[in-house]
């Protein structure tokens, strides 16, 4: 065996080669091979291998101490050069770093928002086994799924289906009561009623008290920490008695932690459902009163699809009901997914997600463009470094280092900005978001990943391509790849502007649709109408009090109805009229109203007489009004005078009113009957003038409190209620609009930088052209033509794509706004004008400069 044959095992050779200083200065592999061969000859291959293994580890360890020293020296140099480069090109540095920082800030805030939306209700224990029992209502003319259902369904399902572990009910919506403790009296409007199991099925954690038994007692009450503080200060609240509505003593049996903001149900006080049922005379086994949230928890590993099928079969076979079938929907999806599983707010959340991704992309492209453009000016430096003795590797390191430095500055700025803007963001979008890395590291990860990707994308071109330049060429000033580079950059500019224009146009389309939904003509107006319950003394003396109200200056109309218009309704399918096919059973909604109802709500009477003859205030008559839809269903030419019967009573149609959309949530018009029934008027509506509202409200309060001294005067504005339904939509709309604006802003920052750079490169050319007699306008045109063309191209690409996406998105809505075609040219024009301004400014500055200055510039 000759010496040449003994080589180090490959892996060790590879490791030792990495130790470049050792290899270069001391030829480490040679030394190792000699010694390895000797040991192998003397002591055998095993000992040699062990020696090699151990020595390599040692050597690597020692090398690290040497190279750390070495790289710190170089790092200092890189840092110095990087800071000088940043300083020399202040404008570029600022544009570049701010662009990325703003982009990242937007992304962090949007991600926080999305996280919050997605985290709704997820804090409940076993959330994946908790289901809401919704009501699948299927009638002849309408089919929908309602979250509220009948109270009897919970116990019924629990008894019939062993898959259901536990069930619990809440009363739909919050109630308002007056509470008194000692001499303290407060009105609380976030009071819920729930079954005793409510606190074990859903996990609203108790600080004091036992969740298993807290609501067991008929007169028990569970309060939040804040309420406990308000009533009892530092006293122990457990066992204390507070009085509800000055009548019912309730014993505090538990204190809850404040319910977090990302909970669908948020209440301050929880009292037993049974108490409410007795108070209002409801039957909790009822299978008709759709006014409850019914929750169930399934056994582990139960297929909910199969269970839903079983429930449907059970209802059809045993109860003969197909119109109303309970259907289980996962509570975890309640906040974002609509119950018919056709979309819901999740669409908006996804859209915000896309926004965030696009903004990140735009900001990265920006950064990439500017970094690569600027690095083109540093070919000579690279040449010099190479001549002095830098390896390619060193140049690569240097450029990566510079990019890392800028990205780090931008990332830190973004983190600080996000922190500072968070309170404003929270106020704008009604959130309680916090930026806490320990609790929620996701934003940090996003920043780090985005930073890393940006470094990789933006740093790689200068680091990898430019480091390969031959020193002789670049020092002579021949950077041969300039042309290829600009093509790449042009593509990026087009991509960036396509995204920006798409975002503006898309946001425009979304805005348009959401505004359309909000402003849709419902067939009635709720402006400046406030309402309150018709209860206590008021109920018996309504007619008198109404006239007193009308005496208050500023009050225009007062009216009343049985159900809370327009959200609540009574519906039945046993209405009958002459000539009706007896098997045809449309469900018809009716509402008992008084004489001023149509005027107050601006509901149009199409033909016929008003519901009440002007001189008749005596009460129930058989006159009714029907809407156009019902008139169509009855299908007679002259529907006035038709006789309808329902529940043993006969009615005569005296007029036809315009269709209205009674429940804006379902947005379908139903057949509707307005009738009179003075015994059932439960709500009073007052239409007031919008000026001097305080004085008018004081007037109403005075009358109310005199008539009804035992009830607090509590009212709501109807349009507030209505708007509440659209709050989420409205806020998302604003979020999308803001995001689009930021996207455009960041794009324009980038364009501004590129324009400035291009102009700078051509300073000399501009000087020569001017000396040879070119005019300023021609030069501006010359300089801006290219970028402007790119922006135009971006328009051409963005329009059809956005149009397609917006129309596709709108398909998810029941009522679609016509797509406003002008948003496309508008978005294009906006991008174009801003681009023109930024580019034009730079070119004009260059063109107007004295050619002597530019020609002397070397």
């Amino acid at each position: 065996m000759t010496m040449q044959d003994i080589q180090l095992p490959k892996i060790f050779r590879w490791v030792l080669q990495r130790l470049s200083v050792y290899e270069y200065e001391f030829s480490i592999i040679g030394d190792f091979e000699t010694e390895y061969a000797e040991i192998r000859r003397n002591s055998g291959s095993l000992v040699a291998f062990l020696w090699l293994f151990w020595s390599t580890i040692q050597v690597v360890y020692y090398y690290s101490s040497l190279s750390t020293y070495w790289s710190i020296v170089m790092l200092k140099n890189y840092l110095k050069v990087a800071l000088r480069t940043l300083q020399r090109n202040k404008l570029f540095s600022i544009i570049n770093i701010t662009g990325l920082a703003i982009g990242l800030t937007c992304v962090v805030l949007l991600v926080l928002w999305i996280q919050d939306e997605v985290s709704y209700d997820q804090f409940h224990k076993d959330i994946d086994r908790i289901y809401l029992t919704a009501a699948h209502v299927k009638k002849s003319h309408v089919e929908y799924i309602d979250p509220s259902s009948v109270p009897g369904v919970g116990p019924l399902l629990e008894e019939v289906f062993p898959e259901i572990e536990e069930s619990s009910r809440f009363l739909y919506g919050a109630r308002t009561y007056v509470f008194r403790y000692g001499d303290k009296t407060f009105t609380e409007n976030r009071v819920y009623h729930g079954d005793p199991e409510a606190l074990t099925l859903l996990t609203f954690p108790l600080i004091m008290g036992n969740p298993e038994t807290a609501l067991q007692d008929y007169n028990s009450i569970v309060i939040s920490e804040r309420i406990a503080k308000k009533y009892f200060g530092n006293e122990d609240p457990l066992g204390k008695i507070i009085t509800l509505n000055d009548e019912y003593p309730m014993t505090v049996t538990g204190v809850m932690k404040e319910i977090p903001a990302n909970s669908t149900f948020r209440f301050d006080i929880l009292t037993p459902l049974e108490f409410h049922a007795d108070l209002t005379g409801q039957n909790l086994d009822s299978l008709t009163n759709e006014n409850y949230f019914v929750f169930v928890r399934l056994q582990a590993n139960v297929s909910v699809t199969a269970l839903n099928d079983k429930i449907r079969t059970f209802y059809a076979d045993r109860l003969g009901s197909e119109e109303y079938v309970p259907v289980l929907r996962p509570f975890a999806r309640f906040h974002l997914h609509s119950l018919d599983e056709g979309g819901g707010s999740i669409i908006q959340v996804r859209m915000v997600g896309f926004m965030a991704a696009f903004i990140l992309l735009i900001a990265c492209i920006n950064f990439m463009n500017l970094t690569t453009a600027r690095s083109g000016k540093r070919t000579k430096e690279i040449g010099m470094r190479k001549v002095i003795g830098a390896f390619r590797k060193d140049i690569v390191k240097q450029f990566y280092f510079e990019t890392v430095l800028m990205v780090v500055i931008a990332t830190v700025t973004a983190a600080i900005l996000a922190r500072l803007l968070l309170p404003i963001f929270n106020r704008l979008f009604l959130k309680q978001l916090t930026l806490n890395i320990q609790q929620n590291p996701t934003p940090l990860w996003i920043l780090l990943t985005a930073g890393f990707v940006t470094v990789l994308l933006a740093g790689s071109y200068p680091a990898l391509v430019m480091s390969s330049f031959l020193p002789i060429r670049v020092i002579k000033g021949l950077s041969g790849t300039a042309f290829k580079r600009t093509v790449f950059r042009k593509i990026l500019v087009v991509v960036q502007f396509t995204l920006a224009i798409g975002l503006i146009a898309g946001a425009g389309g979304v805005y348009n649709q959401l505004t359309y939904l909000q402003n849709m003509d419902l067939g009635y107006s709720m402006d400046n109408i406030l309402y309150f319950s018709n209860r206590g003394e008021l109920k018996g003396r309504y007619e008198t009090v109404k006239n007193e109200f009308l005496g208050v200056p500023g009050i225009e109309k007062v009216t009343t109805s049985a159900n809370y218009f327009p959200f609540s309704r009574s519906t039945d399918s046993t209405w009958h009229w002459e000539g009706k096919d007896p098997t045809f059973k449309p469900s018809i909604t009716w509402l008992a109203v008084d004489s001023d109802f149509l005027d107050t709500f601006d509901i149009k009477l199409l033909n016929g007489d008003p519901l009440w003859p002007r001189d008749d205030f005596t009460g129930t008559t058989d006159r009714i009004l029907i809407n156009k839809k019902l008139a169509g269903i009855i299908g007679r030419k002259d529907v006035i005078g038709t006789r309808l019967s329902y529940s043993g009573r006969n009615y005569k149609v005296v007029g036809v009113v315009e269709d209205i959309i009674p429940n804006p949530k379902w947005r379908v018009d139903e057949p509707l009957v307005f009738l009179q029934n003075p015994q059932r008027y439960n709500f009073v509506y007052v239409k007031i003038r919008s000026d001097d509202m305080m004085k008018i409200l004081a007037g109403i309060r005075q009358i109310f409190e005199r008539v009804n001294p035992s009830f607090p005067f509590e009212y709501e504005f109807m349009d507030d209620d209505y708007r509440e339904q659209f709050n989420f939509v409205r806020r998302t709309r604003a979020l999308i609009a803001y995001s689009a604006l930021f996207a455009v802003f960041v794009s324009c920052l980038g364009l501004f930088g590129l324009a400035a750079f291009n102009t700078e490169l051509r300073t000399k050319e501009v000087g020569i052209r001017k000396v040879l007699g070119s005019s300023v306008s021609r030069i501006v045109l010359l300089l801006s033509r290219e970028l402007i063309l790119l922006v135009l191209l971006a328009n051409v690409i963005a329009w059809p794509v956005t149009w397609y996406l917006v129309t596709k998105w709108e398909k998810d809505f029941l009522h679609q706004a016509p797509v406003n075609l002008w948003i496309f040219p508008a978005a294009g024009a906006l991008a174009f004008v801003v681009a023109m301004l930024t580019v034009g400014y730079q070119s004009a500055k260059a063109a107007a400069a004295n050619p002597i200055k530019s020609l002397r510039y070397e």
């Binding site: 001391f26 480490i28 592999i29 091979e33 040692q58 360890y61 020692y62 040497l66």
Partner: protein, 105 residues
Amino acid sequence: MYELTRNEELILLSIWKLKGNAYGVTIRNNFKTVTGKALNYGSLYNTLYRLAQRGFVTTNESAPLSRQGGRRKILYALTSLGEKALAEAQKIQRLAWGEIPDLPG
């Protein structure tokens, strides 16, 4: 003053002793014969690196040898500065140990 650590001193001495044949393997062997301890390559190289930086040793690349599988060998030699440093170390050694008799043990 050319202060040397113990290792630096011993390595410089090895190079001096090995004349033209001082490279990694031989220096290490020499170190082992003198002290009885093996010097790992890492600390050998790092010391050599420092010595080269201070101008005490120079390196020469040998012609590729068949013995090392066609690899070059890096040979070290003392510079005049290196010799001065050794001389100084010797002087200190003499002064420090001069009047002390051979110690038992």
